[in-house]
């Protein structure tokens, strides 16, 4: 056993038994090439994965071959085809970047290997308490079948030069909008970001006993959303264009923020504001704000197919993705700018130092600034909210 691993195991409080198992995995993984299937549409992510491959190669002798997909469902279909053809070992897909519906499909059809997350030594710094964003993927229980790797979290951006920060809670928005008439808006709820805005408000405004993690009925939907619509009716007249039209999506709203047509926008990527400022796409005075009670977030996961040819190697990659150095590097605004899934309070000193040494930007929140991650409501809520909003406000 390498001294580094002993130290790591001790530091993380992992039992020696687990460490022995992990050593076996590392031994099996050496020399393997992991076919990592990901959506290939983002150049920065592709570069990050290429760099990751160099690191696993150097440290563990595991190389990564990224299979760039136009749609993650293609990889799911491939595994399914292999299962149908009876090819239960030596599958072509070793690791998939996966989310929500695709995860549900693979889990339901028994296409996943696991649970494996608890075996990964670096998972110790994950908040795995029940209901945390790492344990449910769009309300589907993860149950150790996929490992988190990066965080998407709903945040507001605003131009601190032109407007006061958003209020701590959504209830305060009516007064805030009244103070800045015509300068505030949200994307069209037919768009995912617009719908998320409504969900964020719903979570805060719904009556105490509402359980958003179960599918709504007509009655429960009406009860849960009544305060939301009351709030929205009060808010709407002060919105941009009297709340009669809305930007098509958050990109359009970012453009409007840059043009000075509105003073705020929203995003699922807390680092996007800082990145956009660097790219000349937002004024330097734009800042990020998270509601005090936290905001909706979801986590990107990786999963291993049941028939993966290089299962051990896949686990090594999944574990390396969770290493504090990797996560800090991922969060580096100059590399990827995606926020870490690790809980700062569970990190050791070395891990904390890795994050502390990251370049900062005034518009870049720290992991601590982001606050708690609120889980997504059950998937059925979103289309209902969108439809109800359209019925009420589209004439």
């Amino acid at each position: 056993m390498k001294p580094f691993l002993i130290m790591a195991a001790l530091a993380l409080g992992t039992s020696p038994a687990l460490a022995e198992d992990w050593q076996a995995t590392l031994d099996a993984a050496r020399g393997q090439t992991v076919y990592f299937n990901t959506w290939g549409g983002d150049e920065r992510t592709n570069a990050f994965i290429a760099d990751l491959g160099k690191r696993t190669e150097a440290a563990y002798g595991v190389s990564i071959r990224q299979v760039k997909l136009a749609d993650t469902a293609d990889a799911v279909a491939r595994v399914l085809a292999e299962k149908t053809a009876g090819r239960d070992t030596e599958g072509a897909v070793d690791l998939i970047w996966i989310n929500g519906p695709n995860f549900m499909t693979m889990k339901d059809k028994g296409l996943l290997h696991g649970p494996f997350v608890a075996d990964l030594p670096n998972s110790a710094a994950l908040d795995m308490t029940e209901g945390s964003a790492n344990t449910v993927d769009f309300t589907i229980p993860v149950e150790g079948m996929e490992a988190p790797w990066r965080l998407a979290k709903f945040v507001f951006t605003y131009d601190s030069d032109r407007i006061t920060p958003p209020p701590a809670g959504m209830a305060g928005w009516v007064d805030w909008a009244k103070d800045h008439p015509g300068r505030i808006t949200h994307p069209d709820p037919a768009n995912f970001m617009g719908a998320t805005f409504l969900k964020q408000a719903l979570i805060e405004l719904a009556p105490e006993d509402t359980d958003l993690s179960i599918a709504p009925t007509d009655a429960s939907f009406a009860t849960a959303t009544a305060p939301l619509w009351e709030w929205y009716d009060a808010l709407r007249p002060y919105l941009w264009r009297d709340g009669k039209s809305f930007p098509e999506n958050e990109s359009a709203q970012h453009q409007m923020l840059n043009d000075g047509e509105v003073d705020m926008s929203m995003s699922f990527d807390p680092a996007s504001a800082a990145a956009a400022i660097g790219d000349g796409l937002l004024p330097e005075t734009v800042r990020v704000f998270v509601p005090a009670a936290g905001s909706i977030g979801n986590v990107s996961f990786v999963a291993i197919p049941y028939n993966a040819a290089h299962m051990a190697g896949a686990k090594v990659v999944a574990n390396t993705l969770l290493a504090p150095e990797t996560q800090a590097r991922m969060q580096d605004i100059d590399v990827l700018g995606s926020f870490s899934v690790l809980d700062p309070s569970l990190l050791d000193d070395a891990g904390r130092a890795a994050f502390a040494s990251l370049p900062t930007a005034e518009a870049l929140p720290t992991l601590d600034d982001l606050g708690p991650v609120l889980p997504e409501p059950h998937p059925d809520w979103m289309p209902r909210l969108t439809l109800e909003w359209q019925h009420r406000y589209t004439r």
């Binding site: 990109s251 047509e261 406000y393 589209t394 004439r395």
Partner: protein, 570 residues
């Protein structure tokens, strides 16, 4: 070639036009109709029902969307025709020949999406005009006035007028050669009527029957336009055509049923538009006669007419500003309110998006060149075989086949065609897109080529025959060179029509074929206007370059042949 051979070739060309153009359009429409009543076997829907229609009607804002689309189409067409008329009434006989076409060709060549993206920046609350006004009016922030995406679709109307006005002006100019305008004007004025009154009472009523069909094409297009409406039209709800296009793109396969119903409704909407236009025509004619019989000389109209003419000039300037702003945005780094000029320039957008625009431009070029080449080939074979069989270039059914895809809303039959071809998987998406463009390129190529072809002096060919030249030699050595200018013009028109296509690319390519147009439309709602501007600039420049090239070819080859040099129009 023997007479029999010519008849065979003509038959083959005719069959190709019918089978490749009219039949698919009709079949696509039929398929949309079937799907709107629940019959779409490819997705397992075989039970006839009204569910698709119920689903469509349940869409929030549907009726408003339909009314907005109809309103925008009718208003923009009416304004375009009136402004074009005013422009000619004021400037005809005062400007040199060719001035109009020189000014209007860049606008005619610029695709709709590029015009709309450019216009958005010019007229938006944070746009160029508002920035010019800001210091005068004291706007610290862009005003909260819906100048784009307004619920009445007036911004869309303006953008449509910018695009349609040059087309209508050129159509009017072309048809004016068929009427002794100068003589009628002189007669009217000698009777005491002013210029404007003469145009109104004498010239326009004679031109109208000649331009009615093209105006109907413009109207059908304006009511059904998708790309422009997405970029500059209302959003909540959008126009019906946009609503239907979004339904078609819905990942849920079953959404194609209500989308088909929407396509059928779109056809009905265009029918209503046609009825409104033809009804208005009857009403205006009757009213006009009553007023005319009063003998009022209406000389004051001359002064009134300078207003729409000035508006038309303003529209052209606006479009020019829009196209210019695209170029500037594409090389700017930071350009914020209230700066009239970018704070910093950079080629980052061109470099950073190089992979994207190079790929899209390549695909655009490939599709445009292929569809235009095929269209030219078919048109020339048809016209030449017509000459050889002595039947001339036009016939009623060909006229019908040519105008069918132009008069029907694209979205109505493309939904059916797209649904069918995507499910069948028989053809590559690229081949389908080339064919889809050809559906619209061919009619315009044919319209551009048929008249000059028919007007070619038949003595040329007879003389060549008398000198012993066979049909093939006559065709290659005499006719093609003599017709080089119109052929080049037709090629440029076809190319620009193809570059501008949005729906055929999207629907027949199944989202897998990315052209400058689809990319520009997609990026227009993105956060980086600079990258959108890169694509839109290219989209506007490519057809313009081809127009210049197609102007240069006959001008160079025929540099010592004044009679053949020609220009873009007569």
């Amino acid at each position: 070639m023997s007479g029999q051979g010519a008849i065979f070739i003509r038959g083959a060309a005719g069959a190709l036009i019918v089978a490749g153009l009219a039949v698919p359009v009709a079949f696509g429409m039929w398929h949309s109709l079937g799907a709107s009543f629940g019959y779409f076997p490819a997705i397992g829907a075989t039970r006839l029902s009204f569910e698709a229609w119920q689903g469509l009607v349940a869409l929030p804002g549907l009726w408003r969307a339909a009314a907005t689309g109809l309103f925008a189409g009718l208003l923009s067409t009416a304004i375009s025709v009136m402004l074009a008329f005013a422009v000619l009434a004021v400037f005809h006989g005062r400007l040199r020949h060719g001035t109009f076409s020189r000014i209007l060709t860049p606008l005619l060549a610029a695709p709709h999406a590029a015009i709309a993206i450019g216009m958005v920046f010019v007229i938006a609350p944070s746009g160029w005009i508002a920035r010019m006004l800001a210091p005068l009016v004291g706007w610290a922030y862009p005003p909260d006035i819906p100048t784009v995406g307004d619920p009445w679709a007036l911004a869309l109307v303006l953008a449509l007028v910018v695009k349609e006005l040059p087309f209508v002006v050129l159509i009017l100019l072309g048809s004016m050669t068929q009427i002794p305008v100068r003589q009628h004007m002189a007669t009217g004025r000698s009777l005491g009527y002013g210029r404007a009154a003469c145009w109104l009472w004498l010239v326009f009523p004679q031109l109208w029957p000649l331009i009615r069909l093209p105006v109907l094409v413009v109207l059908a297009f304006a009511i059904s336009v998708v790309d422009m409406a997405m970029i500059i039209g209302p959003s909540n709800p959008p126009t019906l055509a946009v609503m239907v296009a979004r339904l078609f793109a819905d990942p849920n396969v079953d959404a194609i049923l209500p989308a088909s119903a929407g396509g059928v409704l779109q056809l009905v909407l265009v029918g209503v538009g046609f009825a409104a236009l033809l009804g208005a025509q009857i009403l205006v004619r009757q009213l006009g006669r009553l007023v005319l019989r009063c003998g009022l000389r209406l000389r004051w109209l001359d002064k009134v007419l300078s207003l729409p003419a000035a508006l038309a000039v303003g529209v052209v300037l606006l479009a020019g500003l829009g196209l210019m702003s695209l170029l500037i945005w594409s090389v700017s780094f930071v350009w914020r309110w209230p700066d009239l000029w970018p704070a910093s320039l950079s080629m980052r957008a061109w470099r950073g998006a190089a992979e994207s625009w190079q790929g899209a431009a390549g695909t655009s070029l490939l599709v445009a060149v292929c569809s235009t080449a095929i269209a030219l080939l078919v048109a020339i074979v048809w016209l030449e075989s017509g000459d050889r069989t002595g039947r001339g270039g036009t016939s009623i059914w060909l006229q019908f086949a040519i105008y069918l895809p132009l008069l029907m809303p694209q979205i109505s039959f493309l939904i059916g065609l797209g649904g069918m071809t995507l499910q069948s998987g028989l053809f590559s998406p690229l081949a389908l897109v080339v064919w889809g463009h050809w559906l619209f390129v061919f009619p315009y190529v044919m319209i551009a080529l048929a008249d000059p072809w028919g007007a070619l002096d038949p003595r040329l060919e007879r003389t060549a025959a008398a000198l012993g030249a066979g049909p093939w030699r006559r065709f290659v050595r005499v006719k093609l060179p003599a017709l080089l200018t119109p052929i080049c013009t037709a090629a440029a028109v076809g190319f620009s029509v193809s570059i501008a296509q949005y729906l055929p690319t999207l629907f027949l390519g199944g989202g897998r074929i990315v052209t400058l147009t689809t990319e520009a439309v997609a990026l227009s709602s993105g956060s980086d206007r600079r990258v959108a501007a890169v694509h839109a600039t290219l989209q506007a420049v490519l057809p313009l370059l081809v127009f210049v090239l197609m102007f240069a070819i006959p001008a160079t080859l025929h540099r010592n042949r004044r009679a053949l040099r020609g220009g873009f129009s007569k």
